[in-house]
Symmetry: C2
């Protein structure tokens, strides 16, 4: 399928095309890490970033946020990638489930509550005290979800999540420096490096020192989304194919899964390893300051699929910054778009038209000052 770029085996993409009842599950969380100045623009300000995960989920249910006016956006007003997810899920009618792994502000939607607190800053050296519990809850949830779907798309919305992704991948021994993406152009790689270095000092760990204890790595320098999605993916992939729908944040989850498997081969049957893939956007693959494909290679050659979206000629200039490398991914935008293009049988043109429609419905009123 030319509208989806593939790296590695296409088996998981074929499975999605042939799925009968896939489901979309988005895990959200917040952490004090997002308050570090300069690290995240997933929200108009540090204060507003607290509302980005719930606002994204509210958009999926109600067509606009409730916790904030309109829709989440960067300080420059570039809309959350949720506009892509809204369009893709609207076209495919996929069931939507929200998982709260630990949000400062809970979403005003139905949601699975698996965590009861946001993460501390990774600068504390102990960011997710309840990581083991989150992993167990995620596992049990994944078992149940696998019974009601035949293909699971696991998405995320976690401000500053690429920094915690970098930290966890380094703790697990991956060669990850300079390979994680960001909402920002350039990726703030140097600030991320410094932040992770400080976090490692506070946690008293070295790169690779937690290679055999991934849950501990999350407990010290991760975020709450990671253990929940790892648990869900491992349990569910025993039964059904699972797409980790996201950019380099999902590479970190894949790294956790690979480390858990290495530590305990019984954690999943052999077949499960072939039932995992990463689904993202082409902007992540185009990111010259990151390398998702290499990260996926490092965690056992996980296939990577990317929706070949092109916002360069979008009708609304406010969408063009995506093409320049801003925002790029989140809320499972890429995975949802892939589902629309494969399972949904939607053409790239029809998907673009719907994304523009969602932009017109959600962002234009904000720009016109018509949103309260």
């Amino acid at each position: 399928m030319s509208d989806v770029i593939t790296q590695g085996s296409t088996q998981m993409l074929d499975a999605l095309r042939e799925a009968k009842r896939p489901a979309y599950v988005c895990t959200i969380a917040s952490s004090e890490t997002a308050a570090i100045e300069g690290l995240s623009i997933a929200g108009a300000s540090a204060e507003m970033r607290r509302y980005t995960p719930p606002a994204d989920m509210e958009c999926l249910f109600y067509g606009r946020a409730r916790s904030i006016p309109g829709i989440a956006a960067t300080p420059d007003g570039i809309p959350s990638p949720v506009i892509i997810t809204m369009a893709a899920l609207g076209l495919t009618k996929l069931p939507v489930f929200v998982v709260d792994a630990g949000c400062e502000v809970p979403p005003q939607t139905p949601y699975f509550r698996v965590g009861d607190r946001p993460a501390d800053s990774i600068l504390s050296g102990r960011s997710v005290a309840n990581a083991a519990e989150l992993y167990e809850r995620g596992w049990h949830l994944g078992e149940q979800l696998a019974k009601v779907t035949d293909y699971l798309l696991l998405a995320e919305s976690v401000p500053a999540g690429t920094t915690t992704a970098l930290a966890v991948m380094l703790a697990l021994g991956l060669d990850a420096h300079g390979k994680v993406s960001s909402t920002m152009i350039g990726g703030a790689n140097e600030l991320k490096r410094q932040t992770v270095e400080s976090a490692f000092k506070a946690a008293d760990i070295q790169p690779g020192s937690l290679a055999s204890d991934p849950i501990k790595a999350i407990e010290l320098v991760g975020d709450p989304m990671q253990p929940v999605v790892a648990g869900m993916a491992l349990a569910a992939s025993r039964e059904v194919p699972v797409m980790l729908a996201g950019g380099t944040q999902m590479a970190a989850v894949a790294a956790v899964i690979a480390a858990l498997r290495a530590a305990d081969p019984n954690v999943a049957d052999t077949a499960g390893a072939d039932r995992l893939c990463i689904g993202t956007t082409r902007w992540i693959l185009d990111d010259t300051t990151a390398d998702l494909v290499d990260l996926a290679r490092q965690v056992g050659d996980m296939p990577v699929y990317a929706a070949d979206l092109d916002f360069g000629k979008a009708r609304y200039p406010g969408m063009h910054p995506y093409q320049a490398g801003l925002v790029k991914e989140g809320v499972g935008a890429g995975g949802s778009a892939i589902a629309a293009l494969s399972y949904g049988g939607v053409s790239k043109a029809a998907l673009m038209e719907r994304i523009e429609g969602v932009y017109a419905e959600t962002v234009l009123p904000m720009l016109a000052g018509d949103v309260t």
Copy 2:
């Protein structure tokens, strides 16, 4: 099917037998009403009743409770009907989803959080301040669940729920006095009558005065389970058959649904009315101090099915009190048993044997003092 007693059309029972992927969804809540002495024995004491809903859910996931030792039981040690649900769901492998409509103590399982507070006592005259919000959240959850299942069993675990059921049915104008069941023999009907009378005084309402405003009735004298299950049932029954799995508490939900339909015919398409039934145990039908069948008749001739369970000759004497009319129903015990006997193709003897097995695994160690 001789193992299921039927009242009214058998169409919904046939649909369950032919279902491909039914799902079990249990909504739990707590209210200060359960603290009124003599009203509920769903828990060994008023203090322990706070833990009954989460403990029931933990049993479904882990085979025993985590919030309390072992399993919930009456003051006399008669186990929660969850032993029936555990057996039936274990045999059918139905997916299990927990919905927290407002629990004092959240369950240590994955769960949908739709409410954030337990109900006040109905004696306050305003027991569920967030009833309208709970109804809306339930509706949105039901929409999503209907996409992943082809038959929905909606269960409940709400201590003192028959009292709030009585109050809501009376507020809606049903002839309900002396017709609701109870965990207790005799049903504490007189205490319930007095309690509801006091609640109506505090709320300044009369029997029937809220016939056209069922959400208001719940807000004043109901419990949080009612609006959530009513919303889920209405939304889901547009697409798939829905069994209200419970005794007279579910008659109250059915009454709320009927009143919502009468107030706004657009709330569900016509077909939806034929996609609802009540599933319970034979002990509810045998209850001479109650009349579920008449209540179901009053809310539009909703079909009632009852699992023909017989604990009179159970291997363990601790199960015999069920046959004498104690406990009787809860946690969707009847509906789950019906699912096992129809969809699951399980014989009554095999179901009984598994219930005895669950009793041996969960209750015997408690009686032996082996549970901490």
